[in-house]
Symmetry: C2
Subunit: 492 residues, 2 copies
């Protein structure tokens, strides 16, 4: 029913939405923000490392200022392409260049399905979303927990969740930067799952972690610990300021991107201060708020503009680019679809190499939806098909077929058609192309009904990906031991 | 509520989906189709003109063959840009270059609204759709009748419909090429509406007519009459082969486009044979069928591919490009939205100058929907906003605003925000950005409910655009006289 799993490539140049001089104007504004205003780094060790690297650290505050030359020099060591390794090597992914990858929704506190409704995230739904994502060939990696399993205490949640991600799925996994020990636990678990040692892990990035700036202009302690733990071990950091124009960034598109870019450059520079050459991805996430209510908005025209401009900036810096597949819809209606496709339009034409949240996100990230994951998998399938190469062979150009049919004929049933019709076109999961009469006879089903059916069908088709029982036992032993130790200290 | 009426511009380079050598491969295949297979032109006068121009006309059939050099020479006189005049000069449109324009749905036999359901097209609904389109600032011109008023006899339908389009709306109008006399009546009516004479009409294209090839490889008599009547008078012809890959064109994307391109080149060449320099638009309309059922499909990945490749071809030929905003949905659901946005993605990034059917089309063109027209107007509003220039002034780049707010602050209520928030972002018609709790309290409205409300609101806001009473009287007199004469002879 689905095309086979493979990582898509973009074979065309991404769009340069604005001229180069406007990209330079943003770049210069960002450098000025970094040199004159500066950014707060809340971790003393981060400030010490940055001072050592030549940044100006205010001794009386958390403020760090970067001379323009320092920023440009530091980011220059970030690699433009690299591979991330999955526990199943067939699921390794290339980041950068022409490659594209999609992740499922990450981190929503709530979850829903159309049968049981909306509820707080829990381990059962977390596991089922992981299972559903694992069945979908357009979910190439995990960008976080598809829903927060809030019934697990934060001290041990990461141990249970990483164990589930590593056993229920075979894709590249994400680990949250919520304090050094959580990153370190993830490192131990991926080493077991991949049966590799520290030196091999250093050569083969196998974990990805999103690090958000606290916009405007601040990096918090746990996020900085994540960079220090992961960049030093050559694991992948996705530096993603989350700036909503009009709220935590200026109300103008250019201003919001300039601030976002300053934050991103500071974060990327810090990864390279920690470990020159460490793999890092530039995360774009500038959207806008509804100026009447302050509500966040996604998949807007402004989101598309910032997604494409940010892509231009990342190409200037030679760093892989992360964007997002997002929407603010409450229902599985037209809005959910058009905001999602507009955000994909921005991401894909903007040159994103990895699109986070691309399957299952609703309500501006506050809810994961099983049915939305299916809808999005179909949208991503269409995008992936759009990215596939087109057959320009003699048979593809089809001169002989046109000649054989001639004026006034038709191509149904011709040998040229019969040889190719099975895979000629993308077969959608959801679209109902029946004529009105047939559609009406079958009870006028809307797209949502198909999504509900497909959730069940895909979950029923789920098979746990094979794992050597001894590896699984080691992983379980590690998880159980760390849980018995109390996991990570929390103050609640 | 809507941004003011204006024609959008695309300020970035459209996407080159495939490399130049693949565009050349299509071009060469098309020329080979035209020289070796040929195209049937069913009108003797057309064949005579083509023979005179150097084409090889088979004396025993309708077949016309074109040497490659002849095609290239003939199409070279087609202008790359021109203006189309509306009866209200503020609604004149530029075609080609960076300009973009959107039309409402054209020619469906059925119509629906969510209150009264689906029915056969009639004059009342036709008029209301014209009124609704007139209220929407993203409907820049008419691409045909927004629904067929089938309760009007075909002999006089064009007279009634053109009168309504010219009086209920002030936009550029389309006239069907369904036999010479209908084109001639349209010429007389636009001359009255614009109060211009033949020589001024010759200077100022004021009518647009879509001419479809009967794919594969055939031009029918009424369509050829349309070209002869309109191109000779310097009115705009949109040459649009309608090729569904797998049905009336090869099942391969490259083959379908090659055949489509051959048909388009032949049609464009014929407009230039009739009148070198006559304004002509290259209409792309290659989609695919569902290979299981044969049902036409729109807004598919293959549609996006053909839309972008066709755009590359039109840039090679230097002719303005028409694409379409389309879908095959039966309901106003997620499918209707995602197929529509995917088709807009293909059209806009492919470099289309005019997007037909962009507001109100459903069921693959078999139905116009009042609510879909509103949904699409919102989608087009988002696309138009995306195309708007971005403020890169000092205020736009917002360095001072970032400095004033500083790390950890927020931009709500700052002077920079207060000065700009009213127009900072596109205000959607339909999107509901409330949080889940507010949305639930208000009864969980889905997007369709908002569309229903908005149809009423926009129709209530309709005002007939002013027209000099004496002009209106002349127009009415012409229409009534031609109806009294029996209109155009039909055999039914």
């Amino acid at each position: 029913m689905q095309p086979p799993w493979r990582q898509p490539s973009r074979r065309f140049q991404p769009v340069d939405l604005v001229p180069e001089e406007q990209i330079e104007a943003i770049h210069e504004t960002s450098l000025r923000i970094l040199s004159e205003i500066g950014i707060d780094f809340l971790h003393p060790e981060a400030r010490r490392l940055l001072a050592e690297a030549g940044a100006t650290v205010d001794p009386d505050s958390n403020r760090v200022r970067f001379e323009p030359g320092l920023v440009e020099e530091r980011i220059s060591t970030a690699p433009s392409e690299f591979t991330i390794h999955a526990r199943n090597p067939e699921r390794n992914l290339h980041m950068g260049g022409d490659s594209v990858a999609f992740t499922a929704v990450a981190s929503p506190p709530n979850v829903s399905d159309e049968i049981s409704g909306r509820r707080t995230g829990n381990q059962k739904d977390f596991r089922n979303l992981v299972r559903l994502g694992q069945t979908l060939n357009t979910v190439h990696l995990w960008g976080g927990y598809p829903v927060e399993p809030t019934d697990l205490h934060p001290s041990i949640r990461h141990l249970e969740a990483l164990f589930d991600l590593l056993t229920l799925s075979d894709r590249v996994i994400h680990a949250y930067s919520l304090g050094a020990q959580r990153n370190i636990d993830a490192v131990e678990m991926i080493k077991i799952a991949r049966q590799i040692d520290d030196s091999r892990l250093l050569e083969e990035p196998s974990l990805i972690s999103v690090v958000n700036a606290s916009s405007p202009l601040r990096y918090d302690t746990p996020m900085l610990e994540g960079i220090m733990e992961f960049s030093s071990r050559n694991q992948v950091i996705v530096i993603t300021p989350f700036t909503l124009a009009g709220a935590m960034a200026p109300v103008t598109v250019a201003g919001a991107v300039a601030q976002h870019n300053a934050e991103a450059l500071a974060g990327i520079a810090f990864t390279q201060v920690v470990n020159p050459g460490a793999p890092v991805i530039y995360g774009g996430f500038t959207s806008n708020v509804d100026m009447q209510s302050g509500a966040p908005a996604f998949g807007t025209p402004e989101f598309m503009q910032t997604a494409m401009i940010t892509g231009q900036l990342t190409r200037r810096y030679g760093v892989p680019y992360r964007s997002s597949g997002v929407n603010a819809a409450n229902a599985l209606d037209a809005q959910a679809a058009y905001e999602s496709v507009f955000s994909l339009w921005g991401a894909i034409m903007g040159g994103a190499h990895v699109v986070l949240h691309a399957a299952g996100w609703m309500e501006g990230g506050l809810r994961a939806s099983f049915e939305k994951m299916i809808l999005d998998a179909d949208l991503l399938g269409m995008v992936q098909r759009f990215l596939e190469p087109i057959d320009f062979s003699e048979g593809g150009l089809a001169y002989e077929a046109v000649k054989d049919v001639g004026p006034g004929g038709h191509f149904f049933g011709t040998p040229h058609t019969l040889d190719r019709f099975r895979d000629a076109f993308y077969a959608p999961l959801i679209s109902d192309w029946r004529n009105f009469e047939s559609w009406e006879e079958s009870g006028r089903p809307e797209a949502k009904e198909k999504m509900v059916e497909l959730v069940k069908m895909f979950l029923d088709s789920y098979e746990e990906p094979p794992m050597d029982p001894s590896v699984r036992a080691q992983l379980e032993e590690f998880k159980d031991r760390r849980i018995a130790e109390g996991g990570v200290e929390t103050d609640y």
